[in-house]
């Protein structure tokens, strides 16, 4: 059965990558996608072989100043405030541009043309039998979505795919979780963890994606996350204790199920539970 399972959290550093990688290894997932293209880390833990890569292009406007008469219609139309026009000057703020193409369409002088520009790379390789696909957003590029879409479009049909999602709750997160059958939320049992978990639950409810929680660094913090999950009827699948050994293995770039094989079974069990919840 083909299943896509996203691993998300809202807050950064709660252990999304740890859960995604260890889960994928334990259940023998066919594919693991790293959609945190601003800070991709999955490949650091899995050392993929046979890596290939492809640039991602988006369209960006270029202004031909000779043709521009500074009428200002482009600046007025741009909904992202990416163009500034003065009496005899036009400036494009590339970091605000979403590449929608409206300015080029609207310019009466045909002074704006669109060109292709590389905004990042999609890469893929193999960790044993598992296909690993990840993306890297170029430095200074504002929009990770085209790179995330490119990562997802390289996904093969069939088999279980685990998707590691960026922190936050806005467009990059939505792009990554969109189309997933289920989402595992990795939460840290602290006030920060609870606040950001609630935000992320809001995103998933809006998208209609079923969810369950894994608590990481259990033992630190308080009961807030547990109580909230109980009130909201969101199942808690597993607790990973705050354990110096697990933290140390992560810091060295080693998935902890490789050194602590007793955890494999527990990840297999949560996968069974997830399948059960998906019906």
């Amino acid at each position: 059965m083909e299943v896509r399972i996203a691993v998300a959290s809202g807050k950064g550093g709660t252990g999304k990558t740890t859960v995604a990688v260890n889960l994928a290894l334990s259940i023998g997932a066919a594919q693991l996608l790293d959609c945190d293209v601003e800070a991709p880390n999955v490949h650091l833990l899995l050392h993929p072989r046979g890596v290939e890569s492809k640039p991602i292009y988006v369209k960006v406007p270029r202004i031909i100043e000779d043709r521009c008469n500074y009428c200002g219609r482009c600046a007025e139309a741009c909904n992202f405030n990416a163009i500034f026009v003065a009496r005899d000057q036009i400036i494009l703020f590339e970091e605000l541009c979403h590449g929608c193409g409206l300015c080029a369409k609207i310019c009466p002088q045909k002074a704006i043309v669109e060109e292709e520009k590389v905004v990042g790379f999609v890469k893929w390789g193999w960790a044993g039998e598992m296909k690993l696909i990840w993306g890297e957003l170029g430095i200074g590029e504002p929009s990770p979505e085209p790179v995330i879409e490119a990562v997802k479009s390289r996904m093969d049909e069939g088999g279980t795919a685990i998707i590691d999602v960026a922190p936050g709750t806005s467009c990059p997160v939505v792009s990554a979780v969109y189309g997933s059958d289920f989402c595992i939320l990795v939460a840290e049992p602290t006030p920060f963890g609870l606040h950001d978990l609630r935000q992320m639950i809001g995103v998933l409810r809006r998208l209609g994606i079923p969810m369950a929680v894994v608590i990481n660094k259990a033992g630190l913090g308080d009961r807030g996350v547990y109580e909230y999950c109980e009130d909201e009827g969101i199942p808690i699948l597993m607790e990973i204790p705050f354990d110096r050994r697990i933290a140390e293995l992560y810091s060295r770039g080693i998935p902890f199920v490789q050194e602590m094989p007793e955890w494999r079974m527990r990840f297999q069990e949560i996968m069974e539970a997830v399948r059960g919840m998906m019906g």
Partner: protein
């Protein structure tokens, strides 16, 4: 007016812990929480909200009555947001291309509230912060508004420092947090991921010509890796201003809604954050 931003690349390295402590040490500063998707500063600073404004964005809508189903909008939308002549509000970025090309005016942009912008009072000074509603876009623009408001508040009250807590990553909200600031503090952690993501954050600061300073948080969870990060920084002439130890007191402070420098001023963490604050002041 001076502006200092706290960034990290990787999430969860301790940006907010460090930023809130710097705010406590600074005393006279405007604090800007620019992690609008996961705004945690209020959990430590308990803001008394004085001003709340709606953050409005626009989304396309198609009126089925006047729609000819010609398909032009579907073809021209770069965000794949229109299917079956309906707009997916989650995918729509509000660019307005559909409204512009629609021959009958059936596609239109409509404003809606996507979040809130606040100016609040805290025990360490004014806090400008925001909440982006779950799943909304345009976090970069909201960050720019938070910073604009912070500058105005600084001028009004004669404060000459703005402390900005940034978001994880290197994309639009982070870019909006770092442009035009005087100093960027990167909080990293001693792991492969911490090093990798710090490199990307350093490149971003360099790209926008922001001088960097590094703090290695929880360095003793892997002293060897911390040393590697320190050597990496030394090679590039980047100062590591603090080596902050791991201490569960940081979590205890968070549970009490306090910064660590208030909760346990004598602990190693607080000492290192004071070192960091000294380095920040020196560079400013």
């Amino acid at each position: 007016m001076r502006q200092v931003v706290i960034v990290s690349g990787k999430g969860g390295t301790g940006k907010t812990t460090v930023a809130a402590s710097l705010a406590a040490l600074a005393g006279r500063a405007v604090i800007a929480d620019c992690d609008v998707e996961a705004s945690n500063m209020p959990l430590l600073l308990h803001p008394d909200v004085g001003e709340r404004r709606d953050f409005k964005t626009r989304r396309a809508e198609i009126d089925p009555e006047s729609c000819l189903r010609c398909g032009l909008c579907v073809e021209e939308c770069r965000f794949d947001a229109i299917s079956d002549f309906k707009v997916d509000p989650v995918k729509c970025e509000g660019c307005g291309v559909c409204a512009y090309i629609c021959p009958t005016g059936a596609a239109r942009l409509r404003p809606r509230v996507s979040g809130y912008l606040y100016v609040s009072e805290t025990r360490f000074g004014p806090l400008c912060h925001a909440d982006l509603l779950p799943g909304e876009s345009n976090s970069g623009r909201l960050v720019s508004l938070v910073r604009e408001r912070a500058r105005a508040v600084a001028v009004e009250r004669g404060l000459d420092l703005i402390l900005i807590d940034g978001a994880p990553g290197i994309g639009c909200p982070v870019i909006a947090s770092v442009t035009g600031v005087d100093l960027g503090v990167i909080v990293t952690e001693p792991s492969m991921s911490g090093l990798h993501d710090m490199e990307r954050a350093l490149s971003l600061l360099r790209h926008f010509r922001v001088p960097p300073l590094v703090a290695i948080n929880k360095y003793d969870l892997n002293p060897e890796m911390a040393e590697r990060i320190r050597a990496f920084c030394a090679d590039r002439g980047v100062e590591v201003a603090a080596m902050i130890p791991f201490d569960t007191a940081v979590v205890e402070a968070m549970l009490r809604g306090l910064t660590i420098v208030e909760y346990e001023p004598e602990c190693g963490v607080s000492g290192e954050i004071r070192e960091l604050w000294r380095a920040v002041q020196e560079l400013l």
